[in-house]
Symmetry: C2
Subunit: 685 residues, 2 copies
């Protein structure tokens, strides 16, 4: 029997974590004590012996990353933050789950003082983000590390529960992590056999180790995660010594360890009963009449351990100073990117078009932008969910991000083959976006961004700059039919807070969409792009489009304003003649490529675009929901699409000059006796 | 060496399938020839030797089911339908991917003459539906089969490709299928090593067999799926002989078998070039100058095989006649359910409330409905994605659907423990809904219905009656915070065609929501339900609510109409007094629990609810997108929520009587000088 390096102080620290978890949830009358109690030993070992980090500089570049994928257990992370010296007080713990606190019900990124890298809580998102962080490390190391200068050498640790493992997004991300041989990724499975419904045996009895072996992961088992601290440490060290695979640590724990109800789902999602709180404290030698107790020696012990954990940063600073001298170009590039600035004059590379230039699909125009920008912006790391030849997301001269042993690329490559894994891709991009020197974009068909909705939402909530290149944006994709044709997709994302939804109408608007997406550094963007060719429009400029909406064709005597986006803007322009000749009506045309950006313009500008006095009608081959914020009548799709050549579908659904003109005429008629037509952009509040 | 039971006619049939696949896609100038060419032998063996079906009665109850999860390969299914004698002509093949044809770009359910059980195409959906069909069979057999009467004994065969395997939804569904030991499910993996981006080695080199073993599946390998017909048949028979696990057949094939480019991604998604079409025909001994050739002996051969495949139905009819005599109650029940009728007077079991009855959360009211209806409607098969105690979806006395060996339930159980697999659950329900004697419902938090969006969309497209019980429907869920609080969810689904989105305000509206969901037999429904208690409202009746919207509080002298849903209806009612006392304004209140149903009412009714002459303002703690179809001004959420007790959150976001009243006042002021206020329910077209 080997003697342990752990002593009573470690046990005391762990029991402090456990009793704080009991008190924090009891005080909030809400929350999840079970997983924090079960994971306390692993968290203690990880933060006191394994990880490099500095609570005084939570964003230190080469820190080891920690992700709590089972985010409902966030009490654990908050308690560790407190004990380790991050800016989180006992008072903050008492504010757990209260409005405006530092300690919300699931981990959120809004508090940069803490060690929360990305939001978590919706199950499976954390582990997908962790895969993204691990890719970020592998890529940054390949680009910036030099002999003797391991600028990027961190590990990514992720705790996850049975729920995360059951979610499809984790399967997608973990399968790709195995393929990519991300050895800096260490996932700790809290194997406690309990979910909300009860025992995992009710629905989840797969062989998780075998599944992860099938993905190409290294497996480490820790048989006793409740008390065997040496075993836990050994597990971490074994995982860290594996250099060619990510590792899953199968950590067997007891949920709610110490509670009278330990090992049952009763301790999962509700505070312990008062008598059980007493029981736990007595069991662990704490005063049962007191709450939020932290023995002074526990603080002192963590201080000591943190001094060691954070000493790495001092050494790093010295190394970096020397690196800067040896590699001025690389260090300048890195510092520029980390400061979230672009190179001088980068925007001059954006393609510009003039009317008369040939008609091109916006997905192709997007490719032209990427061809122009990717060489200038080394922080752009792209990819596609196995639709590269359709999304046109791979710029000329791109190299693939692949494990070197695959011979298909290297970790320095900037193009990720995500496979047919939209949700995984979006989740991974959430990690990439916060690793540091990376701006991620990824392609799929617009309709399948909905597969990724859970992760897209996290990007919006995290304030992360992530770009979704969403081609095949309507019935205009043609023959693939209704299973692939978006109808409701933008209605969804336009309703989501903090995400910019762009639908450019031509080349200049596509350039504007990229400009906006790249410079919106706390907002994700979706770019909806056509499969079919679109003409280059008169009056379209990058500057105009960057207002989100603008007058494409003015007529001071107009009877109606036609408002379109994307492929329907040119249809609106073409309809102006039809209205004149068939109905003797005059129309003006507005392009509204991005509602969210248009909303940011002053009311006076918005009124100049969509004025009082005449009715406005939108034309867009999608669901009309949301359009009446800008128009009086909305022409769109109320059914799913159909399978056929695109022009036939536009005919079938009346998206023709005559179809638009008929509806415009009806709109003018409906409003003709109305004495005052108020612009919908006027709002009462 | 054993002699084969396959002869030249089988080879000829297979090559006929392959050349038809070449011709059909070439004629359409669109589509996917590669997978159909590679899978032709497996399809031939399956339909000529293995499956029981009857093209004359495509919906025969005990038919073996076939799902093409790699739906882009649907040319294969259409060709098989033609050759087997389903109502699909060569002319229909020539109409492949044309508007209004029987042969759209991906399998759709709208043509009941064919053997298409559910829509497929968005990858991973088909296999999830197949798991649902397999559950449907296991459950129906357990309920209806009796000694000597195997009423339900069919198999479910599913072809799927690498893409399906990569999608998370397939991981979720297949993991559950393994747990449930669904031995009637046989999935055939078209292992051709090719995806759109190129070789699967670029992103997908997991050990698929091992992964499925980890899920608890039986694995069968067919080393040569291109030419070894005996091997393919042996693979199917081995799979069918396994009685305690689902089977994955690892079928190695060559994509585009016979093309000059076989085995590459060039044959995946585009028709072959003309010279390659010639090459294929010459190789297979067909006239290269002709198209759509079917040798008469091939028709004759399939006729012979179909006679055998369909003979089972004749025997079945006899057995059923005898069953009917022996088990009149069961057979009556089955026939009633299959005719999509409910038992006489079933609706009288719906709970009814009167004003003054105590305040109850609508999730709890939903549980009361389920408690009342589930004993009366044996076709209801419920479940939850591991949120049973939160969703309250398990009725009193329910038994779990579990493999008998688990001792946790039996296949006769009607409550499915889906695990933390929302997308898998929704995909599985799509299969359950079309199996026959089942109406599925499943619970999760409303915010996580978005995880399942891909499958929800298929239910709408399939015209399937599926019920999503979506609790914790707003910031009203409280402490879990913004990661769990829906904002944009209903904006999304309200924009989706063919789905009813209900948000009941009290008990009677909850009963109405269930009545509507159950009787809308070609439309799925989402029921958004609160965690928090809501009062029973005056003027709320099931009958009123079934109009989708109605006047909750009338006032002929009103200055404004307040329109609410769910938890905000009572808030609107409470605000009426505040408006009167604080602003001397009169208000009327409308409840609009289901927009889609309200849309079906005549304009005159809709105008009686939201009349001309006064402004209308909506009050709903969600994104306002879409609301201006009914109101002039919309009060909602423009940011994500927060973590805190529900009442505090309602205060923070101004969803209080004073917050609503202030905005109502501003609305009245904004419209007071407008000479004619047009009701938004009036539409120009």
């Amino acid at each position: 029997m080997t003697s342990s390096s752990y002593t009573d102080i470690d046990t005391l620290a762990i029991n402090t974590i456990r009793t704080l978890a009991v008190d924090t949830t009891a005080h909030a009358k809400s929350g999840h004590p079970g997983a924090p109690m079960g994971l306390a030993p692993a968290a203690h070992v990880l933060f006191s012996r394994i990880m490099k980090f500095n609570p005084a500089h939570p964003k230190w570049l080469n820190r080891d990353r920690f992700i709590l994928s089972n985010g409902h257990a966030c009490v654990l992370q908050y308690i560790m933050c407190h004990l380790l010296g991050y800016k989180l007080t006992i008072e903050d713990l008492k504010q757990f789950r209260q409005v405006g606190s530092k300690t919300p019900g699931h981990p959120e990124t809004h508090n940069p003082d803490l060690n929360i890298e990305t939001g978590a809580g919706p199950l499976g998102q954390g582990i997908a983000s962790a895969v993204g962080l691990a890719i970020g490390k592998a890529h940054s190391a390949a680009v910036y590390n030099k002999p003797g200068f391991d600028l990027f050498s961190n590990y990514t640790f992720c705790f996850l529960g049975d729920g995360c493992l059951q979610e499809g997004v984790s399967s997608e991300a973990c399968s790709l992590a195995g393929h990519l041989k991300l050895s800096n990724l260490i996932a700790v499975w809290d194997n406690n056999k309990i979910t909300i419904d009860g025992a995992t045996s009710m629905s989840f009895d797969e062989d998780v180790e075998k599944r992860f072996e099938a993905y190409g992961w290294n497996i480490v088992r820790v048989a006793n995660g409740d008390t065997d601290l040496d075993g836990i440490e050994k597990g971490f060290r074994e995982a860290m010594s594996c250099t060619d695979k990510p590792t899953l640590i199968n950590l067997k724990t007891t949920i709610g360890y110490g509670s009278e109800l330990q090992g049952t789902h009763s301790v999962h999602g509700s505070p312990l009963k008062p008598e059980d709180c007493v029981h736990v404290k007595k069991l662990f030698g704490f005063d049962p009449t007191k709450t939020f107790q932290v023995p002074p020696e526990v603080y002192a012990y963590y201080k000591e351990r943190v001094a060691i954990a954070s000493s790495a940063e001092e050494e790093y600073k010295k190394m970096y100073a020397s690196y800067k001298q040896s590699y001025p170009d690389l260090s300048n590039q890195l510092e520029r990117i980390l400061s979230r600035k672009f190179p001088e004059g980068w925007e001059k590379h954006l393609p510009v078009y003039k009317p008369g230039d040939k008609a091109v699909a916006t997905r192709k125009l997007s490719e032209i932008v990427l061809d122009a920008l990717c060489p200038v912006l080394p922080e752009l790391v792209g990819g596609s969910a196995d639709l590269t030849p359709s999304n046109l997301t791979r710029w000329e001269g791109a190299a693939d991000f692949q494990p070197p042993s695959s011979k298909l690329g290297t970790y320095a490559g900037r193009y990720i083959r995500y496979g047919i894994r939209e949700h995984g891709m979006a989740g991974i991009m959430n990690g990439l976006a916060v690793y540091g020197p990376i701006i991620p974009y990824g392609g799929t068909f617009l309709n399948f961004v909905s597969y990724a909705a859970g992760a897209v939402r996290m990007a919006a909530l995290n304030n992360s700059r992530v770009i979704y290149v969403a081609t095949h944006d309507s019935i205009g994709l043609g023959e693939d039919g209704p299973t692939h044709q978006p109808i409701e997709t933008f209605a969804h994302f336009r309703a989501m807070p903090n995400i910019n939804c762009w639908r450019p109408a031509d080349g200049n608007e596509t350039s504007a969409a990229y400009y906006s997406a790249l410079t919106s550094d706390s907002t994700p963007s979706i770019l909806a792009l056509t499969r079919q060719n679109l003409p280059q429009l008169e009056n379209s400029t990058i500057e105009n489009a960057l207002k989100g909406g603008y007058v494409m064709l003015e007529n001071k005597e107009a009877d109606i304003t036609l408002v379109g986006t994307g492929s329907e803007v040119s249809l609106c322009i073409d309809t102006v003649k039809t209205l004149e000749t068939e109905y003797n009506l005059k129309a003006r045309v507005v392009s509204l490529p991005c509602w969210e950006v248009f909303e940011q313009q002053p009311e006076s500008y918005r009124l100049s675009v969509i004025p009082d006095g005449i009715p406005a009608m939108s034309v867009e081959v999608w669901a009309t929901n949301g359009w009446r914020r800008y128009v009086h009548e909305a022409f769109g799709m109320h059914t799913f699409g159909d399978s056929g050549p695109a022009p036939k579908l536009y005919e079938k659904f009346h998206f023709t000059t005559s179809g638009v003109a008929q509806r415009a005429k009806k709109t003018v008629d409906a409003y003709k006796d109305i004495p005052y037509i108020r612009s919908p952009v006027r709002r009462a509040f």
